[in-house]
């Protein structure tokens, strides 16, 4: 992590992590049957969000002890930035932060992925018998 990004750790990932804890807590409360001892919370984070996974995990461990998510680990699925050219319909991955079409050079590119900030699943270490 660059010095510049480390200095910003105090800001960006904190507010996003607060959102994750809030949303995951609400999702947990909404489950039709209680989920004992959460083991993991899985989130999907697009690369264009600029989130540093290491910082997100740091805040998750800091924010969760006194919440229903206590003890859970944060699993981060990173989503690449993908685009589709509006002119030639080519699909491509954007990993150099150049948003022009590599096939025809067009600048009209629709983003297919890369801005995700989603809580996708909750997992418990214990097997819960279905239908019991």
């Amino acid at each position: 992590m660059s010095a510049e990004r480390k200095a910003q750790r105090a800001v960006h990932e904190l507010s996003i992590c607060q959102g994750i804890v809030e949303v995951a807590g609400l999702a947990l409360a909404d489950l039709p049957r209680p989920m004992p001892r959460l083991s993991t919370v899985t989130v999907r984070i697009g690369r264009l969000t600029g989130i540093v996974p290491e910082s997100l995990r740091y805040y998750f461990d800091l924010l969760t002890p006194d919440t229903p998510l206590a003890g859970a680990a944060l699993v981060i699925e990173e989503v690449p930035i993908r685009g589709r050219c509006a002119d030639c319909a080519a699909d491509f991955t954007i990993d150099t932060l150049v948003f022009t079409c590599p096939a025809c050079g067009s600048g009209f590119v629709e983003l297919l992925s890369g801005r995700e900030l989603h809580v996708v699943s909750l997992d418990t270490a214990e097997e819960v018998l279905c239908g019991s």
Partner: protein, 229 residues
């Protein structure tokens, strides 16, 4: 046992932003979310802009800062309604304005009779890009002193913005900023992004910016009375 719960982390914020937008639309207000790094000249641009508009468009301002009322104090002599938001009380000095803070500010800012609302975000090129507040347009400011490489370092901010104000162009020649290289970098990240070069200090380029505001405000007014967007 794994349970799928797919939820957007910013979903709650986006819902409040949509409510804010409805309220702005109901009053026929065009809303600009002004974003930049600290020190790019957002407040200086606002001072100069509000003077130039001189009541032709009736404007209000929501000022966001981590602490203090320095910016609101600067705008006070201009006789426009200004509401200051301090993000400090919101958990650990927030680095951006979110929709809920704007919702609260709307209790203080009377929208009746306003054509235009500027929301001056907290100085930061990262977080504000992610949070909708109910704005019509996101306008970012970059000053030439910050360097021509910034589009490649903060691509999301340059992607989400509808207009870029390149400020402090009176310093071109004094700082290491290559205008052609900058435009090429902008084109790599967001080729459709319009750029207005200006100087809040000398007033150069301000006309293009106030014309943009007048055109966009008129367009917003046309679509709001019936709620047709």
């Amino acid at each position: 046992m794994e349970v799928s719960v797919l939820r957007n982390v910013l979903g709650a914020n986006d819902l409040i932003a949509a409510e804010n937008r409805k309220e702005f639309d109901a009053h026929g207000c065009f809303v600009v979310n002004l974003m930049s790094a600290p020190g790019s000249g957002k407040t200086a641009i606002l001072e100069r802009t509000l003077r130039a508009l001189d009541g032709r468009l009736r404007a209000g301002v929501i000022e966001g800062d981590v602490l203090g009322t320095l910016d609101a104090d600067r705008l006070a002599p201009l006789g426009v309604p200004v509401v200051q938001i301090n993000t400090d009380p919101h958990f650990g000095a927030e680095c951006h304005l979110d929709a809920r803070m704007i919702r609260n500010a709307l209790c203080e800012l009377k929208l009746d009779g306003l054509d235009l609302v500027f929301i001056e975000n907290v100085g930061n090129l990262v977080c504000p890009a992610e949070f909708q507040v109910g704005e019509d347009r996101k306008v970012m400011v970059l000053s030439v002193a910050e360097g021509d490489d910034k589009p490649l370092k903060y691509p999301l901010m340059f992607r989400v913005s509808h207009l870029l104000l390149l400020n402090k162009i009176d310093l071109l020649g004094h700082v290491d900023f290559d205008l052609a290289r900058f435009r090429a970098n902008v084109a790599r990240v967001n080729p459709g992004l319009p750029v207005i070069e200006l100087s809040a200090k000398t007033g150069q380029g301000l006309d293009a910016w106030t014309r943009w505001l007048a055109t966009e405000t008129a367009a917003a007014k046309r679509r709001t009375p019936c709620g047709v967007i």
